[in-house]
C-alpha cells in the first residue's frame, strides 16, 4: 500500500530516540491538543517555552507527562521566540513549532542573521504534503506560503529541499511535475523557460535519481487519463510525487482547494532552515497541525544534512 500519514506515525514509533519539539508560546487549546496527541501517540518529547505572565497554561500537560515535557519561562513573546531558536541551534531541540504568537515575530528570530536558523545565502521556502483520498499516494508541493515571486534560484532551492524531503519519506526516485497552465514552453510564461533549465540540470545529474517533466497542469500531473488524451507520456504524467508551482498564488490556491474540496489532510513546514520549522496557520485543522509535526519529526538527522544542502 502506498505511503500515508499513518505509516509515517508508525515509523516514528520505531525511533530509538524521540524527536524533541520546542513550542513557542503554546497558549491556545488547538496547540495543547496537538501536543497532547503527540505525547499520547508517543511520537515526540516537548520543550514548551511560555511567557512568565502565563505560567499555568501548560502545567496540566507537564503534570500528565513529566518525563516527556519540559517547561521554560521567558519574559516576553520576543524572548520566547529567541529562546526557542537558540534551543534548536544548540541541538537541544530537533523541531521548532509556532504556538500562539504573530508569525512575523517568530520569523524574525528564525531569520536573524547571527542567531537564526537560516544559513547565510540560503533560500527560505515551504513544503506542503497532502494526503488526498482520491489520489494514490502522498503528494508534496511548493511553495504555498513563503516565496512571493520565485525565480530560477528559488525554484532550484525548492526542488532540492523537496527532493530531500521525498527521500526522507522513502521516495527514492521522486516524480516531479513542473506545473503551469500550459504544456508549451513559451516566453509569454517566463517560468516555463526556467523549467527547461531545471530539466537540463536534472539530466546532468545535479539532483540525484529522479524523474522530472513539465510544464504540465495539475490534472496532467496527477491523472493518467488527462495525459493520454493530450498524447503525453512520461514517468511523471498521472503519477507525480512532487509539484513545483510557478508562483505562490497558484500553490496557495491548490493548498486551500484540496483541503476544502478534496478532503485532503495536510502537513507543512519551512525548508532551507537548519531544522524543520512548523508554522501552522489559524485556519489549519488540528489534524493538519499534528501531521505537520509528524512530517517534521520524520526528517532524520542524517537526511536533514542532505535536505538543507
Amino acid at each position: 500500500m502506498s505511503l500515508n500519514f499513518t505509516h509515517l506515525i508508525g515509523r516514528l514509533h520505531d525511533q530509538k530516540e524521540l524527536k524533541r519539539i520546542v513550542v513557542v508560546c503554546p497558549n491556545d487549546v488547538h496547540t495543547h491538543r496537538v501536543i497532547l496527541r503527540s505525547l499520547k501517540e508517543g511520537i515526540a518529547s516537548f520543550i514548551l517555552v511560555v511567557e512568565e505572565a502565563f505560567p499555568d497554561v501548560v502545567e496540566p500537560i507537564r503534570m500528565e507527562y513529566p518525563d516527556l515535557v519540559k517547561v521554560c519561562k521567558s519574559e516576553s513573546v520576543v524572548e520566547a521566540a529567541r529562546m526557542s531558536v537558540a534551543l534548536v541551534r544548540n541541538k537541544e531541540a530537533d523541531v521548532l513549532m509556532k504556538g500562539t504568537l504573530n508569525t512575523d515575530v517568530l520569523l524574525r528570530a528564525v531569520l536573524d542573521k547571527e542567531k537564526g536558523l537560516l544559513p547565510r545565502g540560503r533560500v527560505l521556502s515551504h513544503v506542503a504534503v497532502a494526503q488526498i483520498p482520491s489520489y494514490k499516494k502522498l503528494l508534496l508541493f511548493s511553495d504555498a506560503a513563503v516565496v512571493p515571486r520565485p525565480h530560477l534560484k528559488h525554484f532550484e532551492a525548492m526542488l532540492k529541499y523537496d527532493l530531500a524531503v521525498c527521500r526522507n519519506l522513502g521516495i527514492d526516485e521522486p516524480r516531479v511535475a513542473l506545473v503551469h497552465c500550459t504544456e508549451k514552453i513559451n516566453g509569454e510564461f517566463p517560468h516555463t523557460l526556467g523549467y527547461v533549465i531545471l530539466k537540463e540540470r536534472a539530466l546532468n545529474g545535479c539532483y540525484g535519481a529522479l524523474h522530472i517533466d513539465g510544464p504540465m497542469d495539475v490534472k496532467t500531473a496527477c491523472d493518467a487519463h488527462s495525459g493520454e488524451v493530450k498524447g503525453l507520456d512520461s514517468p511523471v504524467v498521472g503519477n507525480a510525487d512532487l509539484l513545483i508551482f510557478p508562483n505562490i498564488e497558484s500553490s496557495n490556491a491548490f493548498y486551500k482547494t484540496i483541503s476544502l474540496f478534496g478532503n485532503a489532510c495536510m502537513a507543512g513546514m519551512l525548508t532551507g532552515t537548519m531544522a524543520p520549522v512548523v508554522l501552522p496557520s489559524r485556519a489549519d485543522s488540528d489534524d493538519s497541525k499534528y501531521y505537520s509535526l509528524v512530517l517534521a519529526c520524520t526528517m532524520s538527522e542524517m537526511r536533514i544534512l542532505s535536505y538543507i544542502l
Copy 2:
C-alpha cells in the same frame, strides 16, 4: 434548493425559441456525443460546419434530427472557422462551439479585427462555472484560460463580464471574492492594490448590486469556518458566488484541482465576445462540454447586451 446545472437545463426547456449553436469541424466522437445529447434533451438546434473532405461524419446526426440540424460545407478548416464566425455576426447563430480543430485557428477567426467577434478595444477573457458536490451552489471564476498576465483593466473586464453572467444565471446580487494567498493589502503583491480600486469602484456603484471583498484565499471565500477562525466577517466570506483569481496559473490550478480532486462538473466559455464562444479542451469530460453549451445557451439576448458592456 440552490442553483445547479440541472436547473439550467430545465430553464432551457422553457425557452420560446431554441438557441442555435454553430459547431466548427465536428469531426470527433466527443463532439458528436455532446451534439446528440443537446438534441435529445432539446436544449438547442445546430449548424454544423464541416470540411468538404469529411462530408459524411455528421450525416447520421442530421438524418436523426432533420429539423434541428443544418450542415454547411467549407473548403478548409480555416474557411470553416471564418464561416462559423460569420454566421454568429449575421445573427444566424447564437453560440459558437469549437469541434476538432486547433484552438489557434478558431481564435484567429474570432479575433479578426474586421470580421471577428471581439469588438475593438474589448478585453477577451474566460469564465468557468463549477458545480462542486461539497459546495452549496454554483461557483464562477476567472480567468483560467485566456489572459496571461492580468492587470487592473483586465480584472475589471473579468468582473463586469462575470457579473453579467451571474445575473444571467439569476444571481442578482453576486458575492465576489478577490482571491489572493494573503488577506493583507501589500505592495509585495501588486494585484492586492488593484483589488482596493475595484472595491472602491464597486462602492461607487460602478458594477450594480453586488457584495465584493478581498484579498482573501479560496478557503476563506468558500468556507465560513475558515473566515470565523481568522475573525473575518462579510457577506462574501464563506459564501462566494464568483472568484476573481490574481493570475492564470492560480485560476488554472483551481480549475484542474476541483475537477480532479473535488469531483466538480465544469462549464466554461469565452467572455467579451459578441456571443458566447465555447472552446472545450481535450481533457474536458463529455459532461463538461455539454454543461458549457448549457451555460452558453442560458445567456439570453437581452442579458448578453449587458454581459458584453
